[in-house]
Symmetry: C2
Subunit: 282 residues, 2 copies
DNA sequence: AAGTGGTCTAGACCACCGC
DNA sequence: CGGTGGTCTAGACCACTTT
């Protein structure tokens, strides 16, 4: 049995697992994209394997080709597969699709098997912070919720997190904030961050940071300024975070890809914008 | 005249400028997306303005609705507009669509009105660098092109750039490298980077960096390790770059958005992955 | 009820690649 | 040449928001 024959049998076995529920409120393309993604992430389809072509997959699942194509576009966008005109679609190489996904620092630490804890240094309502207000596109006198937290992992100080919330969330408590991540709390209050602009820099630690983060001699901090907005562009919060440089890395994936994950053959279209995904890890 | 009436007249004037060439080899959706993008970037359409709806725009341009929709999806992906079911499409707020796009450090400096220059410290063919080879998924003994450059702006040292190329480009010359950016040279040789994984960190400058970059006392460096791959996942290069922290910031835009720039209403689909764009600036 | 975006169909023709 | 992905059409029905 040749290796390609083995790959074909993998493909056939995988295809047999696929199914979509046309009565579900979940879009068909989304159902299929999730199943295809899982197949690759679980290793059922392996790097270099030929993907079933769009037409026959559509026929097999009784879907139209555009719908199947849209599903595959999701995988292309995630960097899991590569489409080549005239050739076919193949599962991308290992190093390409180890694409980091974003999670909050709290979640990231937890995922690393560490125990994240939070010490709330400050929680104040109705604060005025003209700089934060300006960054959030609000009037300078807009009252904000000011927040200062020290994030630790297994008791080791990791980051100093300062945030100013544009929302009148008077029910936030120190206990809530020490129990988990800020964005999780916001989502519980139906606040869905949609866009966040971050600026990553670095400098030597201030004396306060040195004290709170227990940084070593000459250890710098990685600084992240963040502006978050919801679906409609309404401001959510402004954050200024300092991470111990020796304990953190920010992973970014830059990708050149047209919007829908297809690759126009035209040179003008190739000069397209580039997209990336971000994760942070300790 | 009400402000919405003014916005409507802007919209009408803008629509009159639109046109697509059906005989062009450039995809129709791409032609339209570029024109719409330009209209927003040039301020012809302003934040908060209502976009023409998909159906009438399709009718006006004699295109099908899916094609127009695909164009608008490009803008959604770029963060320029916001779609809301039952409401319409509006131009995103200023702070949301000031989305930085990626460019090479060389291009970024030039765009800032600075004069970028490059000093080639090393250019060596057939080098063995097991660490770089491993990162690129190559055999440890694979010969690489080793490259070390000092990038300056207006004569001020900005960054130390070390790269190892996986490609047998024996025709690279010091003169080429001092004339422009590395990736521009690669594109001239038909090498199209498709995916780049970067890890951003920070540490205090080594003595060599201190000497070459003329860093101030206690000034750290921002470090970026980068792996670049082409369309097919073939490795292009491994880079280790050190930027003077006081002179650089990395801008990242995180966005939660489904693949094609649409927003599934289903909660399961909302728990989708997040995308971002990266730029670096001095 | 009217109008918007969100999804989907069942085709079509073309460009590119490998045989 | 056949098979693949890339683009496009002309509809359809639905979900959601506003009036």
């Amino acid at each position: 049995m040749t290796s390609s024959a083995i790959a074909e049998s993998r493909q056939a076995a995988f295809r047999a697992q696929l199914s979509v529920d046309k009565t579900s409120p979940i879009p068909l393309y989304h159902q299929l994209a999730e199943q295809l993604t899982k197949g690759i992430r679980d290793g059922i389809l392996q790097p270099g394997d030929q993907f079933e072509n769009e037409v026959s997959l559509a026929q097999y699942l009784d879907l139209s080709r555009p719908t199947v194509r849209r599903s595959i576009a999701v995988l292309v966008d995630r960097g899991l597969v590569v489409r080549r005109r005239g050739v076919g679609t193949t599962v991308a190489h290992e190093t390409v699709h180890r694409r980091a996904e974003f999670a909050s620092l709290h979640d990231d630490l937890a995922a690393s098997g560490l125990v994240p804890t939070t010490r709330v240094l400050k929680l104040a309502f109705g604060q005025h912070e003209p700089r934060a207000a300006h960054a959030l596109n609000l009037a300078p006198a807009t009252p904000l919720v000011a927040l200062e937290r020290l994030r630790m992992a297994n008791g080791v100080p990791m980051a100093l997190l300062r945030n100013w919330l544009a929302l009148p969330l008077r029910d936030l408590s120190v206990a809530d904030l020490e129990a988990g991540g800020l964005y999780e709390l916001l989502r519980q209050r139906a606040v869905w961050p949609s866009v966040a602009q971050q600026t990553i820099g670095s400098r030597s630690a201030t004396s306060e940071e040195h004290r709170l983060l227990q940084t070593g001699r000459g250890e710098p901090v990685l600084t992240v300024s963040q502006l978050a907005f919801d679906d409609e562009g309404a401001p959510i919060d402004f954050g200024e975070h300092s991470y111990r440089a020796s304990l953190h890395r920010f992973e970014v994936t830059r990708r050149s890809a047209p919007t829908d994950g297809t690759a126009p053959s035209d040179p003008a279209a190739r000069r397209s914008h580039q997209f990336a995904s971000l994760s942070q890890s300790a």
